[in-house]
Symmetry: D2
Subunit: 362 residues, 4 copies
């Protein structure tokens, strides 16, 4: 035995084995605070992930563990149907991937959506099909057949990284093929953000064509090696559903009740951004009231979504996650609304959410 | 003009003056998430602070700015009445301190309590008097007179750092003088934590003598130089009040509705720790249910108070701030309560809060 | 006594007083790694600081403690001669400031330079005078007299924040008055960086007029509240001196042997930037050599100065502090030099350091 | 095009694709600063790693990329010969693992040692064999044969996690079988640290039986998910070699020129710990000299190895990586040596390095 004094502790140490350096939490999860929307839950999902079964570098169970740690509720592992560079070592049906990961998902209570990536030349490029039964049926000659096979299984289908330079070197074009697919109900959403890039033009597509706003990591390596991982949450799709089940999530996605959350920004339909904004921001009572009617108010943000407000004089207030700012009010006796543009909440390519904060009179 | 390409941005830079490195938030505040208690607000206070007017090293306004940044709602600047080593440079009434800091407090909406530290030999040692009108009246010959003068002004009085080694070298004794003061209604609380140390025996004093549990920073330097500042929040006293006003806070303190929060621990009355626990922990539905009735549940913590749970097999689960853990349930058909000891919530010197988590049946 | 099991430790806890949470270093200092220059030491200085004696908010000793913690070797406390808003509380000679801080400086081995800020309308604006004997003599009617009084005491004088918007709203102009002062040997350097902004045009002034490149914090509040403090070191002036003494530092400053280090950038004379670059970057042996002569090399940086290299194809490599990158070599049989522009090392307003890395043949 | 003003930048944004959030370093590596030992290089190695080919969860190339990022120079991927739970998916020779990872190792200049883990019941438990040619030959009936096959290939063999609770529930015993193996030259080192635990008794084994001190991660998951990864470097074995090549490293290991580095501690032979200590600590000139001969000196540490010094009065000084502390000297006219025990440098189970710091007289 060794006896040590550490601080005011007398310590008797076991010389056979000593755990270092302290009790670690068993599988810690970082919860992501979302606003509470009356009647809804916000499901945090990443619907584009790869494993060693296609061109990723981790075993399927790792994707579940990472989702738990990162505070996600749902994932889709979407290995490439047509591109499997490790086939020499790992062959057989892609249905195996879901089977391997499922017990881990059940262990952590993560919704695991059976999925695959249809991987073709542009157009139409790469598309993810979610909520599948049998991935093998998507291994067809033509992409048209593959998408129809997916749809037949009830799949929710979205177009991945539409502006990816390897497939769209200079621009980010909506091809006639996509228009046709959309009319055939074979595209329901678009990734407006993928891995480390976003596609501003795609925001107007979602807005004008009524497609779901999607953001995903498309991660191939272990998640902590993503660029920006230590500064931001992993990109994710927020699904605004009636309850936290696979079925409710699927319905919400088909209803376009999704918001893309990436690199400190939100992009989605006006309706949902507005609800999320008002449920996120607390408005304090005016204080520091001066004879001329000017005063201050505190805005607080108890969610993990940062909010950048610009007032009508063009001044910007950065309301970080879990923080507060004091903002000036010119005159309390004026109409008691303060208009702001929320410059990190996007409803379209060049459109931001506009809000009017109600003053909470003293 | 210099034109640069940064990422995909074409940048035209003003050569006269360039702000580095980005737009910084204007006076950022770090909000501290507390549980929501029905009918109450939790006021976060630090009631023991020094400035250049006694033996501190910052101007009074700094204490207000620091409180804002650190997420506090209320402070007491409590310079020593009898010990003013910078008197050669800074003399005059200690009432000046409050006067200097008040406009800054009004600017940020911080409750600033006029206060002072009565600084005497042990017994009775050092005591803080809060909610004063005139500090000069406390500058008396005897400590008895000073305390009576404070009480006459309606002060809430607590004993500071009772186990401070300079005054109690080996032990932490409750002197007869304290007993007498308590009976005269001249002590209402005890600092169970001060700066970087706590006094376990003092927890039983508070519990048995019905005194308020108090934790403070007693900071003399700028706050970021406190030991442990980057790992923990500053020590603070949580006052559970009807509303966030000085008056409501004072009433709550006289009612002993306080909880000490320090170094990842809570210490306070059973009633309030229990309310805080149940309002902090979310219990998910059982999942991963096995034929033998065993299952898992997720506990989540959406507050900034870490929670360490020990179950009846002695296994410990660390539920960090803003995180979740999965815990096992032996048998869902058994009585649907899970007993835990909360080893970082103290109701007495050697007593921890005990709770029974209600299972949320599927 | 309480006995606890923490990990594999049996712990007997003193109930009177417990230090939290662990042994803290006594006044920790964060060393800043600088390159080793043959025959020189690099003195890290911040020569523009305020205290409660003018418009700052901390006691003079705090500036010394902060310098120690932040890894600095030398400071100048430079309170405003003409602007003392707390004069009602703190009056008397500014020479007192040096006297108060000196014992603390001796305790930590920090070089404390007696200094003051001459604070006038533009032109000539604000100027710092370092290495003074008697600050009171600078309290004159005209700025010309003040500067001459400083120079008579042997002062090193530099122009502060030349592009500060309050004094130069739209531009950053070198006035005739500055030209005249320079010719009278009454200006020896210019702050190219102050607090949170830099003045690109001032880099050419230093380069063309042979003035010292200076960067300072100009901090009024406690240093940790500077914008960007958690991302960058405090802005500082690197003085390249024969030894770490006040005398050697003064000589080096008059010889213009200074480099400004701010927000991840260096600005200074070509000669010194070049020496610093080559002493910072380690070049590994070529490896991964292919039949066509292409290969890889590792560049490593064991200093705290980040380095951004752009090669002749325009590709950028970010060589962070204390890190390494692999860079490609097109053909090992070609002339064995690799040219780079160091885009964060500035020798002038629009000029960056250019280097040729010697290959270390296998 | 969108035009934005960000700070003082006028920004023209490409709406097709925008990279977020900034230029990221291409494969950043975190260099670990080691002391410079005259005539030697310190090779940082982790010689116990798993992949999907046994019970790990990542592809072999990931282990190389992680080594690069974590500042290592050498690794051994040591999948279990006898335990391959994913054999249903991944079968065939373990020699494939080395073949898959080698091109990645060449790309980054990482020394990749062909290795395997011989995985048997206790005694002798699990042993790693490094520097193999053909792993298949180790797949034998008896462990004696397996170890002899390894040795025939010139392997360096060490015993893994000797106090692992699954194999040594209460104690950490050196069995007769180990004694015999050692005499047959079939064990050359012992893991004194594995994953998150260390075995103090094993330090005396290494010291008394002349075995190499080894520390490894034994990681199965992606490395960032190791406990303590954000607080400490990954555990590693420092090999003190003549040059950074596989051959020189192998010779050094057979010469027992290794030091285990784990959880802020070093364990190794007195000789090498001493050399590392003196090459790590800089001793400044005495300053703050008082009439009674007392003074202060600064100790600085420019390496990434923290150092805890205890002086002969029992006072402890924590000299963190890349930092400095001021320590008192009682009397400069006394013998100018300061004795210290280095409480985090272990030469045996209960023995720490003792040093005498030479004063650097003024």
């Amino acid at each position: 035995m060794i006896f040590l004094i550490i601080g005011n502790y007398l310590v008797a140490q076991n010389l056979n084995v000593v755990k270092e350096p302290e009790v670690f939490p068993d599988q810690p999860r970082r919860e992501i605070r979302m606003p509470q929307l009356e009647g809804y839950v916000i499901i945090k999902g990443d619907f584009h992930l790869h494993t060693v079964f296609s061109d990723g570098s981790v075993w399927p169970t790792v994707r579940v563990q990472e989702a738990w740690r990162d505070g996600l509720d749902a994932i889709a592992i979407s290995d490439h149907v047509e591109y499997r560079p490790k086939r020499e070592f790992l062959s057989g049906s892609l249905n195996q991937v879901h089977q391997i990961a499922l017990p881990e998902a059940e262990k952590y209570g993560i919704i695991l959506v059976k999925s695959a990536e249809i991987t073709r030349r542009m157009p139409p490029g790469h598309l993810n099909a979610l909520f599948l039964n049998d991935i093998d049926e998507l291994d067809t000659e033509s992409w048209q057949e593959a998408l129809e096979a997916a749809r037949k299984q009830g799949a929710f289908i979205f177009w991945n990284h539409p502006g990816w330079q390897a497939q769209q070197p200079d621009t980010c074009i909506w091809f006639d093929e996509h228009e046709k697919l959309m009319k055939q109900d074979l595209i329901h959403g678009v990734e407006v953000y993928n891995f480390d890039e976003w596609y501003p033009v795609a925001l107007n597509w979602c807005r004008e064509k009524n497609l779901a706003f999607i953001a995903n990591s498309d991660i191939h390596e272990p998640v902590p090696y993503m660029p920006g991982y230590s500064n931001y949450f992993r990109p994710m799709t927020l699904v605004i559903a009636r309850e936290k089940t696979e079925q409710a999530m699927k319905e919400a996605m088909f209803n376009r009740q999704t918001v893309a959350f990436f690199a400190g920004k939100l992009a989605g339909p006006q309706l949902w951004l507005e609800k999320m904004f008002y449920a996120s921001v607390g408005v304090g009572k005016p204080f520091n009231i001066k004879p001329d009617g000017s005063a201050s108010i505190t805005l607080s943000n108890l969610t993990d979504i940062p909010i950048t407000l610009k007032n009508d004089q063009g001044k910007t207030f950065q309301l970080e996650a879990l923080s507060a700012v004091v903002i000036p009010v010119a005159n309390l006796s004026q109409p008691t609304e303060l208009p702001f543009i929320i410059t990190n909440f996007f409803t379209g390519t060049e459109e931001n959410l506009r809000v009017n904060l109600q003053l909470n009179m003293p």
